[in-house]
Amino acid sequence: MPDQILYAMEVMINGLMAGVLYALVALGFVLIFKASGIFNYAQGVLALFAALTLVGLQQGQIPFSHLINAVFGTDVHHFGWELPAIVAIVLTIGVMVLLAIVIERFILKYLVNQEPIILFMATIGLAYFMEGFGDIMWGSDIKTLDVGLPQGASAWVEDNTAWLGGEGFYGFFIDKLDMVAAVVAAVLVISLTLFSQYSKQGRALRAVADDHQAALSVGISLRFIWVLVWSIAGFVALVAGIMWGAKSGVQFSLSLIALKALPVLMLGGFTSIPGAIVGGLIIGVGEKLFEFTIGPMVGGATENWFAYVLALLFLVFRPQGLFGEKIIERV
């Protein structure tokens, strides 16, 4: 095979891996949107907060230490212990569930039956609050997240694909972390699908997503469902936070991955779980391939805007997204 094609293939595979991460973030949006009609602007910040909490717990950081030190004139920073990654992850899941309960109790409960735009504004407020709260709680310095995921190029893949090309081809260069992310995302999506199709709570969740009144009439508590879906969204945010955090550190910019999810949602539709996944993959592959082929001609850095232009084209030609139902205006 000509090396040029092999390089393109490598770019594609890496694009798929990046797409998996986009899909993960988009999935969090879709879950909440489906169940409550809320476009959750805070989803990216949730991922940041989850990652911060995970690092903080794992490294035995004392929460609010800056605040405590400023108020009491003390100088405490660490408990002096380190938790195993798995323990820290379980605790972080607990924190995300707690957060879901707090959000329901203090925000959503008061906004029942409000216009979508008001709910949207509320999540913007929530996003900025969480951002500041995360800073105060865990500090704003850049942190490295290490839960023991493999890093670096996979030698095995390189060795076993080198034969495909000629002299100058050393095999596909694929990050092990990306491979793990792909597997984790696949497992997550499959279990979410099983949960929503075959469990009592999953069915309740779909019921609420479909019709609130009817859901109430069969004995489903909307408040419980909201806590449930925000917990799941928090869990998905944690997974996304771990993957992105392991790749590029835990810092404010992690919350911006939410912006990458927007074009994914426009492609996949706001209510479709398969849409979020396929949309994420298309954008991942699309932007990497575009950068590889067209990028050099236009001076590179196309990854910054490619996804948005693609989404825009989609809005023009297929506004309902890949998997959305065709919208026919009633007259």
């Binding site: 075959y198 779909r206 019709d211 069969v218 004995g219 489903i220």
Partner: protein
């Protein structure tokens, strides 16, 4: 009317029991609008109780009070001999009161089967953690519920649309699925808001038969709102008549039919 505190026997020989539900001096206001004005009535175990009245009389509002969707401004709701504290609709459902809606509220994206399965939500015991830990047991429970649901599907003669998303079904069948979902909860009290509205004669006959059979075979107490007087007279044991939020009649179909206030209300005699 004769004393019925211990129940009574209908003309067709069905035993009607004691009071299941009692509404005491219910008033419901929406701002300036008084939807229900100081109404009291009871529903007895095993009976089919109709609520009738002209458009806007407050019938649906009354059903919504019973099912917890509206909170009465004044008055008390008694269920099974106890005063019911203020409850959310889902809590009322968990007490064994199931309902259908005047403007059908189904899960449009789900199949007939799934819609009726959600009706069993209140009967499902296994919690979320248990479900995750003992997948096998949860599966067994699911199968048992599934069996009950299949019986309801057979009963309502809708086997051919089991897998169809209900949003695609014609109106009459949607009404039937909605009834199925309510039945799936094995309710003590079944509330039906105009179950036959918008149906053709044949569909109405089917629906009437289902309602009678449910009452007869499962002993389910039913309260229903209906506009078609013929249907009301055929189905119901006792009738409450409402007009402009007030109760203007209460009794057997025959008694109500001969009540002058009721006749006036239906003939549109002016209120002054």
């Amino acid at each position: 009317m004769n004393d019925m505190s211990q129940g009574y026997t209908t003309a067709d020989g069905r035993k009607i029991g004691g009071t299941l539900m009692e509404m005491k001096n219910i008033t419901l206001r929406f701002g300036g609008v008084v939807a229900i004005k100081d109404i009291s009535f009871d529903i007895r175990e095993g009976e089919i109780r109709a609520i009738i009245g002209p458009n806007g009389a407050g019938k649906s509002s009354m059903l919504n009070v019973i099912s917890g969707f509206y909170i009465p401004t004044e008055g008390e709701v008694w269920f099974r001999g106890e005063r019911r504290p203020q409850m959310k609709p889902y809590q009322v459902a968990q007490q064994g009161i199931a309902r259908t809606f005047q403007n059908i509220a189904l899960f449009k994206g789900m199949s007939t089967l799934d819609n009726i399965m959600t009706g069993r939500m209140t009967m499902m015991k296994t919690g979320m953690a248990a479900q995750a830990l003992w997948w096998g047991r949860a599966q067994r429970e699911e199968d048992e519920h599934r069996e009950k649901v299949e019986k309801i599907i057979d009963f309502l003669e809708i086997q051919h649309i089991r897998k169809t998303p209900v949003g695609r079904l014609p109106y009459g069948l949607q009404k039937r699925v909605e009834l199925g979902r309510a039945l799936a909860a094995e309710p003590k009290l079944l509330l039906l808001d105009e179950p036959m509205a918008g149906m053709n004669v044949e569909e109405k006959e089917d629906m009437s038969r289902f309602i009678l059979d449910v009452n007869d075979e499962f002993g389910t107490t039913i309260a229903l709102i209906e506009h078609d007087m013929g249907v009301v007279m055929d189905l119901s044991d006792r009738v409450v008549v409402m007009d402009y939020g007030k109760k203007i009649g209460d009794g057997t179909p025959d008694e109500v039919r001969n009540n002058q206030d009721v006749i006036d209300a239906y003939l549109g005699v002016s209120h002054d």
